[in-house]
Symmetry: C3
Subunit: 211 residues, 3 copies
């Protein structure tokens, strides 16, 4: 689990940055910004842990998460300009983040003895719920409901990961494959304007969802 742990912290770091950027756009002060950074970074894992009954929730038992969130917030604040220019890098990190969070949530749910479909679902929840709360607090329709390839990529990635491990693929290979798959899926979605059809028959456009 050591590699996953490192990537988990990396994902937390990137989500904290994403939170600060959103808070800046909403003209919050730095305290509100820290709250949004925290919520974006740990929201998904918190809901997952509460639902599967793994309490106190994970990040509360490991000080590194708060440190990483603080570090990500400082980076986002002091290098605002650079972070915005680095949109592609952010997009990449964010994709790695949701990929790892999906796998982490999935694994933890399976370990709690729950079924594979529920585990995939909890993987998606782990990856996207923080962003949903961030958007709800900032009073916009959550991004996940507008630029849909985001959560769909987690769902597809989670399914891939389950399939790979089912067929005996080594864990680290399965992890890397899943993350690469999610990154490619999102890049293609943006490049070729992929989007899911709206329920009422109209079409939305997929865009870069970072920043």
């Amino acid at each position: 689990m050591s590699i996953i742990y490192v990537f988990d912290l990396a994902g937390t770091f990137v989500f904290a940055i994403s939170g600060i950027l959103t808070a800046t756009r909403n003209r919050l002060d730095w305290f509100g910004g820290l709250v949004i950074a925290l919520v974006t970074a740990v929201g998904g894992g918190t809901l997952r842990d509460m639902m599967i009954g793994s309490t106190p929730v994970g990040w509360m038992q490991d000080g590194n998460y708060l440190i990483v969130i603080l570090a990500g917030s400082l980076v986002a604040y002091f290098f605002r300009g650079a972070v915005r220019r680095l949109r592609r890098t952010m997009f990449l990190f964010d994709s790695i983040g949701i990929g790892l969070f999906t796998i982490l949530g999935l694994t933890k749910t399976l370990e709690a003895g729950l079924s594979i479909p529920v585990a995939v679902l909890m993987g998606v929840v782990s990856a996207v719920f923080g962003g949903v709360v961030r958007d709800t607090l900032c009073n916009t329709v959550p991004l996940i409901f507008r630029k849909e390839i985001y959560a769909t990529a987690c769902l597809a990635g989670g399914t891939l990961y389950v399939s790979l491990t089912y067929f005996g693929v080594v864990e680290n290979v399965a992890i890397v494959s899943t993350v690469v798959f999610i990154i490619l899926l999102r890049i293609f979605a943006v490049r070729f304007h992929w989007s899911l059809p709206a329920l009422d028959g109209s079409r939305a456009t997929a865009d870069d969802v970072v920043s």
Copy 2:
């Protein structure tokens, strides 16, 4: 509990349909629609189970809930026109749904050793919280706060159920009586424009809350 279980799945089915209809009106894509269907159907039970400490939450341990939600979503999608024309049927099903969810939440809370007022409250939470989250995610003031006879009917129904069982009425009779009572209460509320007085003295109008 067998009859309750069947009705619980029926309620889940109806709430999934209601979620898809709301998502369609909000022009979400099918993934967002499935998320809203899931949240509407299991949101109340999830919060209740997390609060009373019954984790992993119920629907995660029984695959039938996900299957029923998927089925309800497909029905809502493919028979959109019919579902809308069947408003009265939907209203009936929805009333059965909240009636059963109220009783289920109430019973489960009592079994956790908590008091009767808390159990009635958790019954209401089980019945209406899914809809509250649905409306919050879709960025409208939750229906429950506008068309109030909805949650009030759950409160009245829960109180009736507790009274009936207290006086020794057979469980199945108490269940049916409560559900019929809630249905009648809502029909009368719509028919005669019942509504609770607003806190500031003005009056709101009760309408059909389904779809």
Copy 3:
């Protein structure tokens, strides 16, 4: 813990009043008002207890909380005019409320074996989350993100309390000092228009946050 318990009920009472006042402004009916009163008063403690795994959550196991919330709601409803004229008194009570809720949340988290930074954070969550949900349900950007000295005062107060107890100050003295500190901090913030700088460089103004 007896003094804390009394103040906890007092804080619950004040938050219920604050919930009813918000609901009145949003033209909800009395049922919606009771829901908002309940959520404002117990929301923070509920999330805290679910996160640290202390379930069933506290207020569900002690009927006094529901009674106090009902009493606060009745007072807010029948003495609406007076309550509004008593803005200063409300401000005072509200400050006492968040002070006590901060300390309570902090203590309970430490007792669950978690670290001091997490405990301070959970103290803030206990104090302000109810208000965040209240504002989200009423569809406004949460006050906490606009009038920021509010939550910052909890953070500062929690840090003070931890420091005082660390240096061996008697519990009751530490409690009173913390609450007085939070009250003064908020009074000064309003009086001298203190606010934290916005992330984008602009400045917001701190105002009276009660009512």
